[in-house]
Each structure stands twice: as structure tokens, then as C-alpha cells.
């Protein structure tokens, strides 16, 4: 398959604007500027580009809502707060081909009428601040950013805003609060950011990977994009593959590829010839799946039908030596650390879940703990202010669904049955 997003990252000096221009860079923006903003939105609608941050919301629809709002100024926020454990896809684009993102942002800004864009970059990527700022300066010097872009009436400025280490800021309203200089705590919706967002103005928040597809869609057409991958979710996906596979890393693959192909063909199978025990298909929030799900297709709808979610397409693979209670415990420690503290079900509930998981793993669990874990999950579900609390339930519910017997074995043996032979927990 021909790569779309990562087709330039292996070129020498791939970050530079000269290399970008030599490989059809900014052709999409040139095309967009001779179209009306409405026509640009129509083209992206034809492509059926769905958000790559996790929720899969149609990008053109979001732009359309913001375009229809007469209030100004309007803002475009690029969500580069890639904080979901397992995920390392956006980094590849920003590090290897930053102009692809910048061009996509300029086109999006033109389409819905934004003049200002911010890239909210996660704090853990400090070197990328300079990479992105250099690319922005290069684009400005060549007239692709700034005032009267390429002789048109369109003005667009991009700034990099570095986050400061809070996973919750990947949630769009928390991200907005954070740019406004507040604690990154989610806002109640509605109103939605497309109407009341940054500084109270219409704001579109799109993920890095989503925006990076846009120049290709404009250059080659929405129809071309819609013909790639799966019908309901066209295009490619950058899969972050990690854990017990022979070839971990990142792979750009068409939507709809199966987990079997990713793990066994691209990832080279399980390390040391061991058996696959479980895999997490879409980052820390996603419920785990098992070998029986290997032929499920990697697209939003198929993974949801299998009882999990594609999320950020971070595929974490675990072999037969992995303790699944430990997996749930480790991921819950993350959610406890990252809960913003605003709402009680998430703040208290995740902490309680962690304590139960820790005591089961330590061999001090009680018979009632398994029912209690389920009960706490039910009491958090649907009652939290934002999706973080709901996301924290994925690891517990998934491991309980498929590995309840392993939990019970911990209780019977008063300890972890796989600890001594496993990589995890050693």
C-alpha cells in the first residue's frame, strides 16, 4: 500500500520546506485557495475524513458548524497532546514531516474562517517545540502562513503552545482551559467548542493525524481518499505497535486491516515464539481483546462491535507470561495520577479501583473484591464529567471479562500466579 501520511518521513532532511516543496508540498493549500471555503469543506466531506484523535467525529461536519457561526475571531487548535499510553503516532508526523501538519492547519483555517491556530504540544516532546517553530517560520517566509497568504485575502498565524504534563489536556475542553492559562479541567458541554471555545470564540479542535490528511485530500481529491481503507472510515491509520512483538514501532496501514495482519505480519509475531494472551486495540482506555478477536478489522465500527474501541490505534500486545491483574493495576495507576480531580466519581472511584487491584495483586484480595470492582465501575460509568473516568474502566472491565479466572486464582493462591515467570511484575 502506498503511504499517505508517512510517505516523506524517510527522505533526507524531510523536515525542511525545500524537501516538502519538492514532493508536492503546499499544492493542497494552493488548490484550496482558489476554491471557496464551502467547497473545501465539501471536498473533505466527500473524503469522509473522521477524526483520528479517538472519537472518530467527521472533520468536515465540525468545520461546518464553526463556519456557520458568525462570531469572530475563530480558532483552530491542533491537539498534539498525545498522552494515551501506547500511542506514539503523532510524534512521527511532527518529527518527520511538520509541514504536512502546518499545511493541513492552513487549509482547515481557510475552510471555516480561522485566522489563528495553536498547536497544543505535549510537554514530553520538548525537542519538537523547535522543530515546529522552525517549520512555521519557514512556511511564513515562503508566504504559506501570515498575511494575505499566496496573494489571497486569507490570513493565518500558528503558534506552538507547550503543555505541562497533564493527560486530561488531550480532552478538547480541558485543552482549551489549559491554553487559557487555567488548570486543565473539562468544561460542561454544551455549549460545544465550535461555538464557545477558546476565549469564548468558535474553536475547532482537531488531532495532528486528522489535520495531516487534509493536504492530501485537497491535492488528490476527496473521492480518491474515500476509496482507501474501509467504506465507513476511509484513509489510513498510523498504528503504534508496542509490547511483546518482534517488531514494535509505528506502521501506516489502511483502515480495516485485521489485528492478525498487524501483529503477525507487520509486527513479526510474538517475541520468543510465545503465545498471544491479549491485546489492547486502542490505547490505555480500550478494553483488552483476546486471540479470538485477531480477525477483527481495525476500524472504529468493527472494534466497537467487538466490545472495545479503536481510540488512538495504539496496539499493545501481551504474551502468555503477562499477569492481567498487573496490567489493570498499572493502567489504573495512570488514571489515578491523571484524574483532574474535578468530579468525585472519577477522583475517588479510580483511586478505590487501584487500591483493590493492588491488594488482589499483592495476594491480599478478598472474595468480594471482584464484585466490588464491577460495582465501582458501574457507579463511575456515565457519571463522570468527562471521558477520562469512563476510559479508566476499560482496563478493569476488559480484564474481568476475559480473565476473571486469573483474578480468582490470585485470591486462591494469595499471590500472583504468573509473577515469577513474567516480564511484567518482575
Amino acid at each position: 500500500m502506498e503511504k499517505i501520511l508517512l510517505n516523506r518521513v524517510h527522505l533526507k532532511n524531510s523536515r525542511s520546506i525545500e524537501v516538502y516543496l519538492a514532493h508536492e508540498g503546499y499544492e493542497g493549500l494552493k488548490k484550496a485557495l482558489v476554491m471557496t471555503p464551502k467547497e473545501v469543506i465539501e471536498e473533505v466531506k466527500r473524503a469522509n475524513l473522521r477524526g483520528r484523535g479517538g472519537a472518530g467525529f467527521p472533520a468536515a461536519m465540525k468545520w461546518g458548524f464553526a463556519a456557520a457561526d458568525p462570531n469572530r475571531p475563530k480558532y483552530l487548535l491542533c491537539n498534539a497532546d498525545e498522552g494515551e499510553p501506547g500511542t506514539c503516532k503523532d510524534r512521527q508526523i511532527m518529527e518527520g514531516d511538520p509541514h504536512e501538519l502546518i499545511e493541513g492547519m492552513a487549509i482547515a483555517g481557510y475552510a471555516f474562517g480561522a485566522e489563528f491556530g495553536y498547536i497544543y504540544l505535549r510537554a514530553e516532546y520538548p525537542r519538537l517545540v523547535g522543530v515546529l517553530e522552525t517549520a512555521i517560520a519557514e512556511a511564513g517566509a515562503k508566504g504559506f502562513l501570515g498575511s494575505k497568504i499566496l496573494g489571497s485575502d486569507f490570513n493565518f498565524t500558528i503558534r506552538v503552545h507547550r503543555g505541562a504534563g497533564a493527560y486530561i489536556c488531550g480532552e478538547e475542553t480541558a485543552l482549551i482551559e489549559s491554553i487559557e492559562g487555567k488548570r486543565g479541567q473539562s468544561r460542561v458541554k454544551p455549549p460545544f467548542p465550535v461555538n464557545v471555545g477558546l476565549f469564548g470564540k468558535p474553536t475547532v479542535v482537531n488531532n495532528v493525524e486528522t489535520l495531516s490528511n487534509v493536504s492530501h485530500i485537497l491535492r488528490k481529491g476527496g473521492k480518491w481518499f474515500a476509496s482507501i481503507g474501509s467504506e465507513k472510515c476511509p484513509g489510513t491509520r498510523i498504528v503504534s505497535l508496542s509490547g511483546h512483538v518482534n517488531r514494535p514501532g509505528y506502521y501506516e496501514l489502511p483502515m480495516g486491516v485485521t489485528f492478525r495482519e498487524v501483529i503477525y505480519e507487520h509486527g513479526g509475531g510474538i517475541r520468543g515464539g510465545k503465545e498471544l494472551k491479549a491485546f489492547i486495540p486502542g490505547g490505555a482506555s480500550a478494553s483488552c481483546l483476546t486471540p479470538q478477536h485477531l480477525d477483527v478489522k481495525m476500524d472504529y465500527d468493527s472494534v466497537a462491535a467487538a466490545g472495545s474501541m479503536l481510540g488512538s490505534s495504539a496496539l499493545m500486545v501481551m504474551d502468555e507470561t503477562t499477569c492481567m491483574v498487573k496490567v489493570a493495576e498499572r493502567l489504573m495507576r495512570f488514571f489515578v495520577h491523571e484524574s483532574c480531580g474535578k468530579c468525585t466519581p472519577c477522583r475517588e472511584g479510580t483511586d478505590w479501583l487501584l487500591k483493590l487491584l493492588q491488594r488482589i495483586e499483592a495476594g491480599e484480595g478478598k472474595e468480594k473484591d471482584i464484585d466490588l470492582l464491577r460495582e465501582i465501575c458501574d457507579n463511575i460509568s456515565g457519571k463522570t464529567f468527562c471521558p477520562l473516568g469512563e476510559g479508566a474502566l476499560g482496563p478493569v472491565r476488559g480484564t474481568l471479562k476475559y480473565f476473571e479466572e486469573e483474578y480468582r486464582e490470585h485470591l486462591r493462591l494469595k499471590g500472583c500466579p504468573v509473577k515469577r515467570k513474567s516480564r511484567i511484575g518482575n
Binding site: E82, G83, E84, P85, G86, T87, C88, R91, R122, A123, E124, Y125, P126, R127, R159, H161, R162, G163, A164, G165, A166, Y167, S178, I179, E180, G181, K182, R183, G184, F199, S240, L241, S242, G243, H244, P248, G249, Y250, I280, A284, A314, M316, M318, T322, V327, R330, L331, F334, H337, E338, C340, R423, I424, G425, N426
Partner: protein, 161 residues
Amino acid sequence: MQSTVPAKFSEETLLRINEILARYATKRAAALPVLYLAQKEFGCINDAALDAVSRVLEISRADIYSLATFYSMFHQEPLGRNVIFLCDNLACTLLGAESLRDYLERKLDVRMGETTDDGRFTLKNAECLGACGQAPVMLVNDDFYEGLTEARIDEVLEKYK
């Protein structure tokens, strides 16, 4: 103990802050970049840093403190010359991050969150560094190190004096 450092920024930092303020619609929106500058200038977000930030952004000290303590990249205690963030989230743990953490703690004779007696290193754990395909990983100051082993850690630490 009350800090003896004057609670104001250097002229050079103030110039930088003015550039930053011009990028945002409100003064408050510059809070995170200004806190980064304060941390660099004062060594951590101590009383002096809170004073300086509060003055320049015209926001109360309590409000700035509430902000600084929310984000994990702002530190209330002085750090060593080099800060090591070792990732031990799931992808890294699956490939041995916990034993690497024990190794680092033994080698540097500190626990997570502490600074070595000679001030050379501060060791901190990170909740995912976004390099899961190259796990286990750590960040030393601004540099990523991937595919860690004990030998690789030895090699990397030698670079930082």
C-alpha cells in the same frame, strides 16, 4: 525559609515574557510559558518564582500555585542538574521498565522523585513518554533514549556531568 532571591525576573526574561504576552488574547493565557521561564530562572516554582509570575501576570500567588501544582512538569523543589524521566507505563513495563527503575535507583542511590547528593541527577517516573514502539524509554533533560537496557543506561548517564 524565606527565599533570598529577589522576586522578579531578569531583564532578559522580561523581554522574552513580553514577546510571549503578545501571542495571546489575555495575560493569563501566557501562564504556562511564563511558568516554564520562572522554573528555569529560579530553579523551581518556589516562593520567589510564584511572586515573580504573580506580579507579571497580575494573578494572585494562590492562583498561580494552584496552576503550578496541577501540571507535572512544574516542580516545587529544586532539581538536579539533569532530570531523568523514566517511563514505566504499560508498554515500557511489558519490556522490563520496572527492573530498569530498580537498577537506576540502585545505581544512583536515590528513590524515584529524589536528587543525588552531588546534585547531578534527579530521578522521576513518567506516565508515558509517547515512544511506546521503542520501549523502554527515558527522557534525560530534552533528549529521548529508547530501547533501554542496563548497559545502555550506563552509557547514557556517562554523557551527563
